[in-house]
Symmetry: C2
Subunit: 453 residues, 2 copies
Amino acid sequence: MAETIRHDKTARQLRLLSDALDSGRLGPVKRLVNTLSPAEIGNLLESLPPGKRSVVWGLVDPEDDGEVLVHVGEDVRESLIADMDPDELVAAVEDLDIDDLADLVEDLPDTVIDEVLKSMDRENRERLEQVLSYDEDSAGRLMNPDVVTVRTDTTVDVVLRYLRLRGELPEHTDHLYVISRRHQYLGRIALQSLLTRDASTPINQLIDDEQPAIGVDVSADEVARMFSDHDWISAPVVDDNNVLLGRITIDDVVDIIRYQAEHQALGAAGLDEEEDMFSPVLRATRRRLIWLSINLGTAFLAASVVDQFAATIDQLVALAVLMPIVAGMGGNAGTQVLALMVRGLALGQVSASNVRTLLWKEARVALLNGLALGLVLALIVLVWFRSPGLSLVIAAALTLNLVSAATAGVLVPITLKRLGFDPALASSIFLTTVTDVMGFFTFLGLATLVLLR
Amino acid sequence: MAETIRHDKTARQLRLLSDALDSGRLGPVKRLVNTLSPAEIGNLLESLPPGKRSVVWGLVDPEDDGEVLVHVGEDVRESLIADMDPDELVAAVEDLDIDDLADLVEDLPDTVIDEVLKSMDRENRERLEQVLSYDEDSAGRLMNPDVVTVRTDTTVDVVLRYLRLRGELPEHTDHLYVISRRHQYLGRIALQSLLTRDASTPINQLIDDEQPAIGVDVSADEVARMFSDHDWISAPVVDDNNVLLGRITIDDVVDIIRYQAEHQALGAAGLDEEEDMFSPVLRATRRRLIWLSINLGTAFLAASVVDQFAATIDQLVALAVLMPIVAGMGGNAGTQVLALMVRGLALGQVSASNVRTLLWKEARVALLNGLALGLVLALIVLVWFRSPGLSLVIAAALTLNLVSAATAGVLVPITLKRLGFDPALASSIFLTTVTDVMGFFTFLGLATLVLLR
């Protein structure tokens, strides 16, 4: 009888494994590891520090090695490949599907690539070269060339006999593709309809031509959007002449969607989604330094604004105490607008046609929030510093900064996108530069004008 | 012949529609809208401000109304439902699948729910009640009770005849489920194997018992993880006695994964993933005020630290100029650590067994970055303010703050998770509180000790 999953299996298995590893008894570790799927093994390896990672990697069934390499991030993959000798590597990758092999090939040593190519027959070698010729983030790289095709001029009976003769179908086959004599895609036949229709039914009565084909150059992001908007399980891929090249299945699309989410979450902090949690200290330091150096530059920009008002602060030290509040609140409010905009841009919901409406809405929200929070802030400052002028200045500065923050929150990501940059990655640096500079400038500037006459 | 998609269709169609809308000619708008899938129409409606949204909603084919409502966020759904009269609503939702109807039911007016329940037959009404009895984020709410089952004691031939008699199968059926007399799940049969095996083959030779069943109470997050780790297309759901209740298909899992990503991205900015980009100004203001008020509280905490050192700043105004740099850089460095931790926690890769190793690694990375950036910062400050003491103080304060930031970046999310909170949502507020307070305290504290003797 089949197994039943009752609780959160992943977390429990990782805990069991980690206990077994700590106890140093490798027998139970090996048994546990080899009950996992390659993706789960990959997840486990990513959660282990380098020493333990090597030990567990040595215990994985060699048959799974290739699939595990496909399922880990590039950094971790590199560390695993470094642990293998060339023969092991060749054995691990030579039986992979063409699309998986294409993903790995750039991370393999040249000698291993040569060996793998030599071990392939000519047809597969040509297929691999073809897949590698497409852009990395395109439908061409996602597709698997292994498809089952039929012609229009036949019957269910003949197709059933052909399938019995052929034996096993490629994984996740839910449709057969109908092609013309010149191998052009015409439509598809659901396996379901072969099963539920009479054997004498002509195939051309069963063709579903509602399923569009995807051009081989369409971007992976668009492929993911189409699959999720239409609940597709698989879709055919064609070249410029509508010739059928392969098919994309939903399991690869799920990987793209997960990857996009990680790319956004880590990218916003200036990190690469391939980053290994346990990457060597020197490498991690070097990578983060770049991002932090850019931020140091923008911090100096803000500091130089404060420096312009050094004389004012010298006269009224309360300004130094309160100025981070105005700048920081702008950053928080702007981040909210930014989050909505980045989602809207990713979903294709924000464009030139609605930016003005969005800007107007966000400006009004910021104005109202500025007035409400400004009132609270003014009252607290009045009690604290007993200066009505200072209260007035901070409330006005906060309101102005929230409106600038909203404006930057709308305009920064859309401008970056128009300039060809990924708005999810660079927007926050620009936004906080605006909110810091404007926060310090409005607060200290207004204070200079109003309080030091 | 089937259509071919060559370019990024979504964006282009939205642009065309928006142009047609602006021109005010509703005929072309209607034609364009009704070439879209319900999910695409939902996406379009979300991208329109309230006025245009009402116009386009009125043009959607009433047959698609129900599916469109399923595909939009709760805020937008509410605005669409407000535009419909009860009869339209009943007609829109009464033909939905049980799982979709269960999603909608809470947003419908009571009179409409009564009407819909009345229009259903008893079996469907009981099914709906059953689905609604499961937790909102559980396998039970994701499953569709519509499954095709067979018994073990039969042959391919008999099953094929049964399927022909039955006619159409439920959407995305790739397997039939094999059950016992007491309706317990035993395994599954691929449609593929029915097609490729001989008609006389006994069914029990074709059973695949490798596919585990999912317990009805397993969390939606775990369901998503299992589907993506194992490349499943569908999986059976069973109750505590292993009785088959329904099946979950990958298209619903794709929706969960997208939802999780939005939840994380918007949640980190204190927003709800159901937020309408064009929600009314007053409502948006009210919602954001909560988040901003919490941030105002933490900003006052940081300001009160600065206030302790007012006398020091009074003597050396350069401290006010430089203090935001130390605090801000801590925030940036901590955010990087936080992003890695939140991903690790979401993937189940971070647990008690490796926190210490992670903390030690991040502390060393922070120390090295602190020394490197501290050196740069010290040199700039030396040239700017010509004070070796100040240079030394800011470099030391930066290093200390980066190490605190790394510590907070590791410990804050894991502590929140252990306390039962979602680390993706609240971590950043706690983190920036630590980095602001520590940044101001170490810099101004060291300056008081070293420079004002």
